[in-house]
Symmetry: D2
Subunit: 311 residues, 4 copies
Amino acid sequence: MKFSVDSKGVYPIAPTPFLDDGSIDRKSIDRMIDFYNECGCTGLTVLGQLGEAPKLDATESLDIASQVIARAGDMPVIVGVSAPGFASMRSLTRDVMDRGAAGVMIAPPNTLRTDDQIVTYYTQAVEAIGADVPFVLQDYPLTFSVQMSPNVIRRIVTDLPSCLMLKHEDWPGLEKISTLRRFEKEGSMRHISIMVGNNGLFLDYELERGADGANTGYAFPDMLCDVVRLKEQGKRDEAHDLFDAHLPLLRYEQQPGAGLAVRKYIMMKRGIISSAAQRRPASPMSELARLEVDNLMRRLARHDPRANVAG
Amino acid sequence: MKFSVDSKGVYPIAPTPFLDDGSIDRKSIDRMIDFYNECGCTGLTVLGQLGEAPKLDATESLDIASQVIARAGDMPVIVGVSAPGFASMRSLTRDVMDRGAAGVMIAPPNTLRTDDQIVTYYTQAVEAIGADVPFVLQDYPLTFSVQMSPNVIRRIVTDLPSCLMLKHEDWPGLEKISTLRRFEKEGSMRHISIMVGNNGLFLDYELERGADGANTGYAFPDMLCDVVRLKEQGKRDEAHDLFDAHLPLLRYEQQPGAGLAVRKYIMMKRGIISSAAQRRPASPMSELARLEVDNLMRRLARHDPRANVAG
Amino acid sequence: MKFSVDSKGVYPIAPTPFLDDGSIDRKSIDRMIDFYNECGCTGLTVLGQLGEAPKLDATESLDIASQVIARAGDMPVIVGVSAPGFASMRSLTRDVMDRGAAGVMIAPPNTLRTDDQIVTYYTQAVEAIGADVPFVLQDYPLTFSVQMSPNVIRRIVTDLPSCLMLKHEDWPGLEKISTLRRFEKEGSMRHISIMVGNNGLFLDYELERGADGANTGYAFPDMLCDVVRLKEQGKRDEAHDLFDAHLPLLRYEQQPGAGLAVRKYIMMKRGIISSAAQRRPASPMSELARLEVDNLMRRLARHDPRANVAG
Amino acid sequence: MKFSVDSKGVYPIAPTPFLDDGSIDRKSIDRMIDFYNECGCTGLTVLGQLGEAPKLDATESLDIASQVIARAGDMPVIVGVSAPGFASMRSLTRDVMDRGAAGVMIAPPNTLRTDDQIVTYYTQAVEAIGADVPFVLQDYPLTFSVQMSPNVIRRIVTDLPSCLMLKHEDWPGLEKISTLRRFEKEGSMRHISIMVGNNGLFLDYELERGADGANTGYAFPDMLCDVVRLKEQGKRDEAHDLFDAHLPLLRYEQQPGAGLAVRKYIMMKRGIISSAAQRRPASPMSELARLEVDNLMRRLARHDPRANVAG
């Protein structure tokens, strides 16, 4: 169950629950972590891109990470430590590792372009946080404008033994997973865990390409867990049936920028968190959008009763 | 049925069919245009981003446009004339308008940033092609890196009466359509046709927000036509059911870069074109990807018999 | 002498002096501030882009700002507070304002594209830091990839009364200054201070276009002060002669990325700071580059004896 | 004197002279080519980024290239063939090679990011134009947003024997030249000609780092020729003196976007071309800008009598 190159399953990206007045909703944090545990999640990630980390001050960030780690029990907790400079990355890393984090996740700054620049950045990041701190490499070109070729990922994995997991969110990304797994088979790259992000939009086929699971925040992590499990059990059609039933809603939640509001709204409707509030600046959700999500859930409920919620 | 601010329905983005040796497949062009006509398409667009226009020389481009226009009959034909300079944009525009095109489509060069730069670019483009040539404004930030706010679109529509249609491919884009339709209702912008692109990934809800139809290349334009028609007839659930059945495949085809190979492969399987060949440089389709598409079509065929194809 | 819309003269961007072991060189900070004072600088900016702010942890940043403010005496001190989120921007702003800063400088995040996005960002930033905190608007497209048209600057200046100064580093930028000053003359924008950055590469003509001075880090702030003074005295040719003598070196220091090493090397040679050390990750300076700077200074010393330094 | 990996000296980037009515000024083309010849230029480049190539239609482009080639006599002529697609790149290349061009110049499309993407692009371009056509690799990140590391350049040079010259316009770029020349010394890269662009802003030190000359359009190519010659003769200080005298004007002309108007204005004042007209869309030159250039030339004339022109 620990965080390693053999990690499998689902590591949800946890949102940060707020009360309507903007204060941190500590009760919802506990409820959400318990929910992840009950779903069968094998780990989780906090303070990521969609955890509204930039809207938290340093004390709050550490408090949240601490509460999550304490509540998570056996589930390893990864903490997002991406920062504009290595000084703050290092200090946040030290603080959360001291409190029991299993590792950290590092996204590339969006100024990186060449292969060498990307490899150098991660080399320096590891130098800053310490080579003993396990880290997740986040590959998300759509958001960070940084394109990592399979060769670059191989160089990072080879040069930096503390890289244990790839959060794969390239798009299109199916061939990339195949290429990385081929590198492993050929012996030109050591094995790492590959967990898919991008709200799981291609989870169905990414698992067949060699992904180990999902590391993303879709508001039905229980569905993600089911799909991973069904695939493992060889129940391919059942996995696709379940995934396809969720796809209309999942696609809606995956919209960049607008997605977090949708995610929190669904999690609130499901009773996982008590409010959909975001801290400012928030991307608001219009009344029409709420009606659209209600409709999507109503339609989903015909196939998955978990979507059958009041409200 | 002519191209105007009141255009509705489906204008497919036509691919350019090639034979396996890279020569233009003129028979498939005719068959494809006939197919569009039989589907109930209300117009079509050629030489767009996914029509492999940059791989054609000037003579070929004009030949294809001419053949399409001749075959299209009553369907108005829009021709993509985006070019690195206004000289070639003007000369291609004149040539295709002479041959009977209904209008042209212009995408922004990806160096534009500020609102003023975007408005100025379209002003100069209209100056170049002539204010009497109807044009489609292509708003596709994901591909062109140019972000047009609703205000910018309103300025272009207001300043340039020859702008008749918006090819809307912003993502997320639902609120944008609502905003533009609100501008019209308020009287601050004249009415234009809004057709959605982006492979129709949000067609289901974009129609409800006020879009007039689709201007995109999904390999089942007949489904797009059906969804538009069902919505018009008030059969909302039927429209969603049909759309949702296609969504797993549609999403797969929507992958940037990789999508054209998928589209041509499906159109070949459906018998619309005789080969999936692309001219070089092509984004190839792996054997695994073909198997995935086969599986997606097999699953789709349970809901839509049109996907039940041999091969 | 206070920071206001009428600020003129030179506000150097102060580097952060380090000892060779990477610790903060407090003695050099005092010496540097005294030097700025003796040169006739009218204010200064700390923790900017080239102050290696991201390499400092929160405590160090605040310590440096406090020391600088205490030492600066009558010179108003602006503190760079650009941050990935408003929470840290607010907390740093509060801390430095409490310690006597005159205001803060805010750069745009490089994800902003449309005019509305830029205006909204600054509106939210002011909401976060408080409308009573004077701020400098940094317009530096080359580094931040954000292009602010004159209209956008006018909207920000109009909407946000706490915007007192523009750090103008657009390139080309001469016409932009003329346009902004024309806005003021026409009465469509209130007056603000415009200080030029970009290492002062066009200071000579930017002053004639209406700039009030320089807000940049060239290693000869005394030259910048002289040029501003000579222009004010109407000694145009003398101003150009002095500026032109510095231009070969100034251009060399203005190289993006590589420039900070050059700047610190020159300041060390001039005895202003005791070491040219940068914290890691540093852009190193090759032996050849050092010889080139030595040659540039030797050549400059023929015209400006201040470049005649041992070492 | 032919175009080869041993090319040295100055290859100006020729502007396209227009008459005030926008028609091509054929007399000025001849006069300009003769002027380049008399200056001692060793070759030249036409239809480049600053040759307003996108404003020419296909016939005009070919006519201009033909006239230039005919007039250039012994000077090898390179033709810019960058295009959005390989089809038009190939056809323009064939046409100009047939008419006697010495080679072509290819800039990267600004969508390229990873090392592999860049190498693949040039591989495909060579496939399109033919491996027997000598080409210049244009490395200009500021304009094209494509960053080529020294490793990428080495891969291209190694894989593609028809790459004879690097038009080096990276900025900063001094260390890059040193690295490439070190690769050659180490035997890990074959020798190629390196000519600097970027208006020659660092020509003085780039020559000392190993550049072979300049491939840029500064309005005083005679100065560029002199500086290259003086350096070759070991007259280092004289070379710097001459270069430094031009630097204030050269920097002014180097402004992106605005620079072409300045260049044409100076060339007109020097009597090389008869009009400074640009085809639309043009970046205009304000009256203030003209006065600034007049002043810069007046000041330059004190050191270089060639700047002493009437008008």
